[in-house]
């Protein structure tokens, strides 16, 4: 039914995509595409619409104008849901539950990547010791790592990461870069926002610059 992505069509593409809030343009119109193995870095100052762009791509906000395509087909809940993984300002996990309980729940919703397990992804992000602690006992950086572990556990191929470097130390930043690189090496793609304070590791990554 749904064929795996054709190599010719980009995983995700935007055509004349623009969004305005109360008729005040927030961003756009933008044209860009995201192909397998590609990372696009969205840069811009505070208030330039980076988060809004990602929320529009994730389908949480309706596109004001223009079009979003997945695998060359117009975006719909069916073409988007399950393959887009979203890591935003809000962790998307319950603080009273442990990382294991949260991740198991999300794996129940999204399915699980072949060969990945809750324990293995927690180990990969370096906080396996916190697997069964309630999230509220974790530091902000550790919580962010649990969020990263989610990306490794769930099977989506398009990562939309909003400020993934926030709250992370130097090692954490390297970890994010390494995870993105590994994801792209296996045919995935990532769209990453950053307000520019962090230098993205991959020199080949493309950049979208949003003006405030």
């Amino acid at each position: 039914m749904t064929t795996p992505f054709a190599p010719s069509a980009p995983l995700l593409s935007a055509h004349r995509l623009a969004y305005s809030r109360d008729d005040e343009p927030v961003f756009g119109p933008l044209d860009f595409s995201l192909r397998p193995g590609e990372t696009v870095l969205v840069e811009g100052d505070n208030g330039s619409g980076k988060t809004t762009l990602l929320r529009v791509l994730a389908g949480m906000l309706p596109p004001g104008e223009g079009e979003i395509r997945f695998d060359g087909r117009p975006a719909s809940r069916d073409s988007r849901n399950g393959r887009v993984l979203w890591l935003g300002h809000r962790l998307g996990m319950n603080e009273s539950l442990s990382a294991r309980e949260n991740l198991d729940f999300l794996a129940g919703l999204y399915g699980q990547r072949d060969g990945a397990s809750t324990a293995s992804v927690m180990e990969r992000v370096g906080i396996e010791a916190w697997l069964d602690e309630p999230l509220r006992t974790l530091s902000a950086g550790q919580k962010k790592r649990v969020g990263l572990a989610r990306l490794l556990l769930l099977p989506g191929d398009i990562w939309l990461l909003d400020e993934p470097y926030a709250n992370l130390d130097r090692h954490g930043i390297d970890l994010v870069n390494a995870l993105i690189a590994a994801h792209c090496n296996t045919g995935g793609a990532a769209l990453v926002t950053s307000h520019g304070a962090v230098r993205f590791a991959d020199p080949n990554a493309r950049h979208i610059h949003l003006d405030a």
Binding site: M60, N81, G108, L109, G111, A116, D202
Partner: protein
């Protein structure tokens, strides 16, 4: 600098196919139920509060009205019905709030499962954890208020039909108000008027049982409304949750 690039779990990420999705639907509902039960268990102290509230209010009536057993017995059915409705209200308000605040709803939205189905599952979990205990203590409260024994089964049956209906309605209103900054007691204020017809039919059944009359008709109306609500309320709920996440 970039550390050595490790392959992620030796696998390529592939979007799930439709077949995988439909088979995953049950698993997703089960996962949500398990999660909500775990959370409820972790906050089991909070679950006792509505119970305690119901017991205290029921205990207040003999004091307020005098301990005339005949008078108490006559009004017990209706009083218990109203106590259950009131005890349910506070929990309904926050049905989706914490999930909206910590971003879990965003994850629901992007999951490959229908949002309405997740909302329905949440309603079921909510009913099982917060309302079912109230129904279970009904015989105790009935005894406290001298409820005639023959009315008790009808009261239980009525509550089994009326409370899911109220939770479904409450879920829609709770989802609608979730995105509002100042919701306060808005959900209660919106739900109570809508609960009036439900209470009227439920009270009709109880009153009929009390006076030895057939009580099937009002229960059938409740059942009809419940059947409609089970299908329509989750759809409305899903639409409301999408608005809530737009913030």
């Amino acid at each position: 600098m970039v550390t050595a690039v490790q392959p992620i779990a030796n696998s390529t990420p592939v979007a799930p196919t439709t077949d995988q999705r439909s088979s995953g639907t049950l698993r997703a509902c089960a996962a949500l139920l398990r999660r909500d039960f775990t959370l409820a268990w972790r906050r089991r102290g909070e679950l006792f509060l509505p119970l305690l509230y119901a017991v205290i209010v029921a205990a207040l009536f003999p004091f307020a009205l005098g301990p005339d057993p005949e008078l108490l017995g006559r009004i017990a059915g209706g009083v218990l019905l109203v106590i259950v409705v009131l005890a349910m209200l506070p929990a309904l308000e926050s049905m989706f709030r914490s999930d909206l605040e910590d971003g879990t709803l965003e994850q629901w939205l992007l999951a490959p499962q229908p949002l309405a189905l997740l909302a329905l599952t949440r309603v079921i979990a909510h009913w099982l954890t917060t309302v079912l205990p109230l129904i279970i203590v009904m015989p105790l409260l009935g005894a406290l208020l001298n409820l005639p024994v023959k009315v008790l089964p009808v009261l239980m049956l009525t509550l089994l039909l009326a409370t899911p209906l109220l939770v479904l309605l409450g879920a829609v209103l709770s989802a609608l108000a979730a995105g509002a900054r100042r919701s306060g007691i808005l959900v209660a204020l919106m739900l109570l008027p809508l609960a009036v017809p439900v209470v009227i039919f439920a009270a009709g059944a109880i009153a009929a049982a009390q006076s030895g009359m057939p009580y099937v008709a009002p229960l059938t109306w409740l059942a009809a409304a419940l059947v409609l609500a089970i299908v329509l309320a989750p759809l409305a709920c899903a639409a409301a949750l999408r608005i809530a996440v737009e913030a």
